[in-house]
Amino acid sequence: MNLGFSVWLFAVSMGASALGGTLGMASGIFIVPILIMFGGVAIHTAVAASMVSVIACSCGSAAPFLRGSLTNIRVAIVLETATTLGALTGVFLTGVVPVPFLYFLFAVVLLVSAWQMVARQREPPITSENAPMRDWATSLRLHSSYPDGALGRDVSYLVQRVPLGLALMYGAGLISALLGIGSGVLKIPAMDTALRLPIKVSSATSNFMIGVTAAASGVAYFALGDINPHIAGPVAIGSVVGALLGARFLMVMSGEKLRLFFVAVLIALAGQMLLSAFGVHWIGHVA
């Protein structure tokens, strides 16, 4: 085992996870392109390693949200039927889809994420009084409330448009399995626009769900032998340490500057992935 390369994997994953965490983004969207373009790692190995780190970050950060009653576990398990089915489809497609298409898809996801980071705006959640009551969310008893620290009381919310949410979540699971990412790119429209969850509930619940979504493809990649412990090991540990550090960075760094920096990084990575999709490689590998 190459010590230098292990340390590099650990450091890159820690940095991506710490910085990603401050903006509520999963680290996979940075880790996968960096492993491929700078580490010379094959795309399927990079995706599988990232999947392990996605699980580690989801499970490692779930407890405070659960204890704070922010995670809606009923909404989570309902949507997980769609995300795991999407992941199953994604696993099947990895054997069929050509690698340049994966690069291209990744570039698209990076660009849409950059755009969402600039444009993310929220509609106010619908309050209990003016929403329809005869729908899926009501019969599944998904509506709930969460304690809001700033207001000092419980805030009730209604869950909207579950079928649309399920459809978007199927896509999110599929992209997650194909690209090794948390696919916030589809979860944000699904949780905010379709289901209209309050932001704290939306973040906590999607963070909770991504572990199961990633495990659904993770078991397949494990069976396929795509999980290389020399790569997935340092990436997983680096991501866990980074997630712990990220929670502290959040306090000291300026949000707006960090946002602009991230948009620039996302666009740069997208450009690189597009070049790779068309077979152009001009960045040296570290290993």
Binding site: A87, V91, L140, A215, P229
Partner: protein
């Protein structure tokens, strides 16, 4: 209207504990495996074990939800949890099948 209709406080605390401790345990196992390989011991099997535990954690979480929903006689949600578990098992079987096709 009952504000606590979608809450399961005991189940939430149980899951929080399992995921929290499980992540620390799995990370510890992976770290031990990586460090021992640095001093030359053949320990990649330990790392793989830690990774397997990590992947198993969310699956255990769904299993816990299944057990609690069934015990609470919430059969509809029991069935939903069972469906999620079934899809994960199918995915594992698909992986085994694809691996067999590649080597055979």
């Amino acid at each position: 209207m009952n504000d606590d209709r979608a809450r399961h406080p005991e189940l939430e605390h149980l899951i929080a504990q399992v995921l929290d401790r499980g992540t620390w345990l799995a990370s510890g196992i992976i770290t031990v495996g990586l460090l021992s390989s640095l001093v030359g011991w053949p320990s990649m099997g330990i790392v793989i074990g830690g990774i397997a535990l990590l992947i198993a954690l969310p699956v255990i979480r769904v299993l816990l939800m299944l057990i609690v929903f069934v015990r609470e006689r919430d059969h509809y949600f029991g069935a939903i949890a069972l469906l999620v578990l079934t899809i994960i098992v199918l995915s594992a079987l698909l992986g085994v099948h694809m691996a067999g096709r590649m080597s055979g």
